[in-house]
């Protein structure tokens, strides 16, 4: 396997970078989309119920099926667009939920106190609700990051040239070293990310005993 890796460094590097670029795009889009929506859910019960239901359904669709459905949509087709959309849709559940619970769990007496001191809704959001929700939001971010990094592997079946490709090609060529390289790299990256993110999460939750993930 070492031998395989040293012989194919450039391909492996290329696949790893492609893996990261897909993952990072999906994460960024998810953050931009789901954090504001999560916040909006705390202000509007109907929207909250709708998003909860939708995200749960989406989260339950098996990845292969999700990719398959998306590529049949004409303007998406095979390739990166479908891959990103699939990953962003999966992120809806962990992200919106962590934002929603983070804000909803802020101690009511805190809100009462700062409102009584003359903070308006905007002050309260930026200075109290959001900072207090950070630990919960971050735990959603961690779950999403790990989920996207590992699920991105499967995007190889719709044309992504990433670490998943080492596994899928390795399987079709019965090249076990190639399969192992892909599998081990993905696993190491995921575990490492999880380790780092969990360390940060511990640091973040020091001040906050009420909020935090479920």
């Amino acid at each position: 396997m070492i031998e395989y890796m040293s012989k194919n460094t450039s391909v492996i590097t290329k696949y790893t970078l492609a893996h990261f670029s897909l993952t990072i795009s999906a994460i960024l889009i998810s953050l931009i989309l789901w954090i504001p929506i999560g916040v909006y859910m705390t202000r509007n019960k109907k929207v909250a119920n709708f998003i909860f239901a939708t995200s749960n359904i989406l989260y339950c669709i098996p990845s292969i099926a999700m990719f398959a459905i998306l590529i049949t949509i004409p303007f998406l087709g095979l390739g990166r667009k479908s891959a990103i959309i699939a990953l962003v849709l999966y992120s809806m559940m962990p992200m919106t939920r962590s934002v929603y619970t983070g804000i909803k769990n802020v101690d009511k007496s805190l809100i009462e106190a700062v409102k009584g001191m003359g903070m308006n809704a905007r002050n309260i959001f930026w200075e109290v609700e959001l900072p207090m929700a950070v630990p919960s939001i971050f735990s959603g971010f961690r779950i999403m990051t790990i989920m996207i990094t590992s699920t991105a592997t499967l995007a190889t079946y719709i044309g992504e040239k990433n670490l998943g490709r080492l596994i899928s090609q390795g399987l079709s060529r019965s090249n076990m070293e190639m399969v192992a390289t892909g599998a081990i790299l993905v696993s190491i990256i995921t575990l490492l990310l999880d380790f780092i993110l969990s360390k940060i999460e511990d640091k973040l939750s020091w001040y906050n005993t009420n909020a935090g993930g479920e």
């Binding site: 805190l110 009462e112 001191m117 003359g118 207090m132």
Partner: protein, 320 residues
């Protein structure tokens, strides 16, 4: 200063109004205690004053201006608000918590730093130690202090305090009360202070407003509440030893100023030394202890000043 006129508050979905045609005048520069049983509407009244709640009917004015004509948020920035749960922000240090209102009022940086330092000192903490701490590193009593400091930070002419010392042990509580009185002596705020502790009300209040079923039954000086209860409710509420409580708040020197008497008997065996804090309560205790009906009052050099009898005490009580 603050006038509540025929104020009624009916919570949505409730049948009985929490506040029922309530009238109250809160005087400027005084500490008015809202005293009453649980559920009688004390907190609701506070929250009506700073518009955390809107009244169903009636008017509330501050310095003659209807509170509905104020901008809600700026009204609240000029009314300090201290709640029992304190509500210190756990992600901000003590300094930052105290600075919240000054920041909202857009004071300049130096002025905020100075005000925050002054307040931390005033509540008996160290700006360079406790000031930098997060609330979770403070004791319960220290948190209450910071809550009070935060309520005063924006220099509000009015401060609303909802059972601010409810959650601390009796010793810390006594200390907090003493400190509040000191602060109030210096700052002369118009304070509405909610409690259901009669002793606390007598100790702190310039005036006590007795609440019952959403109304103010009587609002008077503590001594009047104790000695001239307006009806049976107030009488019973203040308890059967209310006369003794009244003795605790009347200064012996006030009685002496009022009735100077010749000394009839210089038997110094039954003397009591007069100092600024002597009350009729201690005079009475001495009378009982020595089993006499007259006692000699001496100054701090043991020189007799006057005499006080049991009759003097009870007459003075009812004179108020």
């Amino acid at each position: 200063m603050i006038f509540l006129e025929s104020v009624t508050k009916l919570y949505p979905g409730e049948k009985i109004p929490a506040i029922d045609n309530l009238n109250l005048h809160v005087e400027a520069g005084k500490l008015t205690v809202f005293l009453g049983k649980s559920g009688c509407g004390k907190s609701t009244t506070l929250r009506l004053i700073n518009r955390m709640l809107d009244s169903t009917s009636g008017t509330i004015t501050i310095n003659g201006k209807n509170i509905k004509d104020f901008d809600e948020d700026s009204l609240r920035r000029d009314i300090g608000y201290v709640i029992q749960d304190i509500g210190l922000l756990p992600n901000k240090t003590v300094e930052e918590n105290i600075a919240i209102v000054p920041k909202l009022k857009k004071w300049d940086k130096e002025m905020i730093t100075q005000r925050v330092r002054d307040l931390i000192l005033m509540i008996g903490l160290d700006p360079d130690i406790e000031g930098k701490k997060y609330p979770r590193h403070l004791s319960g009593g220290q948190m209450q202090r910071v809550g009070v400091a935060r309520g005063l930070a924006g220099n509000p002419p009015i401060v609303l305090m909802d059972e601010p010392f409810g959650a601390v042990d009796p010793i810390a509580r006594t200390k907090l009360q003493d400190d509040l009185l000191k602060i109030q002596n210096a700052e002369k705020k118009t304070i509405c202070f909610v409690t259901h502790d009669i002793d606390e009300a007598i100790k702190l209040g310039d005036k006590i407003a007795i609440f019952n079923e959403g109304k103010v039954v009587q609002c008077d000086e503590p001594i009047k509440i104790l000695m001239r209860p307006k009806n049976d409710f107030v009488k019973e509420f203040m308890g059967e030893t209310r006369v003794l409580d009244a003795l605790k708040i009347i200064k012996l020197k006030d009685l002496i100023e009022d009735n100077h008497k010749k000394i009839t008997d210089e038997n110094l065996d039954r003397k009591i030394e007069l100092n600024d804090n002597s009350t009729l309560y201690s005079a009475l205790a001495n009378l009982i202890e020595k089993n006499k009906s007259i006692i000699t009052i001496v100054d701090n050099e043991n020189k007799p000043i006057t005499e006080v009898s049991f009759d003097d005490i009870s007459k003075y009580l009812y004179k108020e």
